[in-house]
């Protein structure tokens, strides 16, 4: 009988939250602050998707384009595992971003007030995908602590999107951000 019910909700479920933001904004730190395992890294190469895509230019790239992907895991209870996936930093690789965003419960977009513009492409992406998200302003040492209202204005995000402070090194802070995101997911669900 075992295995017959693998599509039923009785089996273990994995939940995915995407941690996003510009390069060097603290995504892996954020994941590491709460993950029960050292964040793992896996590689996706262009060949993962270039086969079957009608774009000959992709095929000539062979395996040379690889993107590293960091993630952590939190076992919530005997049937729920939460995975936190960081988006790769430097560039946007659509093929991988879609892999990350598809089925995600939501996304935390980490912003650095010194380089606020770095998260514009990320915001565009998740707004476009209608993935629930919140913005977490990572308060780096030495960075001026901006009013969240100012950050919201600079980002041009909707009033309905929470913008919160966070310290990516602090487990409590990261936990608070995740709870805020899940609240946002629930709000959008019942809306």
């Amino acid at each position: 009988m075992y295995g017959r019910s693998e599509r039923e909700s009785t089996g273990p479920s994995a939940v995915k939250i995407v941690i996003s933001g510009g390069f060097g904004v603290g995504k892996t730190t954020f994941i590491g602050a709460i993950s029960e395992i050292e964040p793992l890294t896996t590689e996706a190469s262009m060949t993962d998707r270039s086969v079957g895509i009608d774009d000959a230019s992709l095929l000539t790239q062979k395996t040379t384009t690889t993107v590293a992907l960091d993630f952590g895991r939190i076992t919530l209870d005997s049937s729920l595992i939460l995975y936190l996936f960081g988006t790769p930093g430097q560039e946007r690789f659509d093929f991988l971003w879609d892999d990350l965003a598809t089925g995600a419960l939501g996304s935390v977009i980490i912003a650095d007030t010194r380089r606020i513009e770095d998260c514009y492409p990320v915001l565009d992406y998740f707004e476009d995908k209608s993935t629930p998200f919140i913005v977490a302003v990572n308060d780096f040492d030495g960075a001026d602590r901006f009013e969240l209202g100012e950050v919201r204005e600079a980002l041009g995000v909707d009033e309905a999107v929470p913008v919160v402070h966070c310290d990516a090194r602090s487990r409590e802070s990261v936990k608070g951000v995740l709870v805020a995101l899940i609240e946002q997911v629930l709000l959008q669900r019942v809306a």
């Binding site: 295995g3 994995a14 793992l40 896996t42 190469s45 060949t47 939190i74 419960l105 899940i182 629930l186």
Partner: protein
């Protein structure tokens, strides 16, 4: 975080590394991750084409394996087939590693990271194991509101 009474949950630090078979040396998954060794490690000038372990196949036999799709070894997966007969053809090295990792539910991304292969390779290997009935899949589905609420409460209680 959790009680000690229910140790069946996945924690790779607790997954016993299967005793090495007499005929090959099995590196622990932690080792391959920690040292950055992987099939595509290019640092030392030795480049192994990643899909060599799938004999060049890049298309998984089963579609829809997401990063977070959980796999779990079926009870018979190590050594015996579905009818309890010993397998005539033992699993290939990487597939055996996957089955050993999947003694507890483990995600596709985790499998790739722990055996040190790119995601695309892991997907092909996992799909083969699924097709061969060595593992079951727990595919993600839309979560009802009460489950999301439970997730929120569990995260809060971490």
């Amino acid at each position: 975080m959790r009680g000690d009474d229910e140790p069946r949950l996945p924690d790779p630090r607790m997954i016993p590394i299967a005793a090495p078979q007499a005929w090959f040396e099995q590196p622990s998954p932690e080792h391959s991750v920690a040292t950055g060794q992987s099939a595509t490690d290019e640092g030392d000038g030795v480049f192994v084409r990643p899909f060599i372990v799938t004999r060049g196949r890049t298309r998984p036999l089963h579609d829809g394996l997401r990063l977070e799709t959980l796999i779990e070894a079926l009870p018979a997966a190590l050594g015996r087939d579905g009818w309890g007969k010993p397998l005539s053809a033992p699993l290939q090295f990487e597939q055996r590693q996957i089955v050993e990792l999947a003694q507890h539910p483990v995600s596709v991304a985790e499998v790739a990271a722990r055996i040190g292969v790119p995601l695309g390779v892991a997907r092909v290997l996992i799909a083969d194991l699924y097709t061969g009935k060595y593992i079951s899949l727990h595919e993600p589905h839309e979560l009802p509101v009460h489950v999301i609420e439970r997730i929120r409460d569990l995260v809060r209680a971490l």
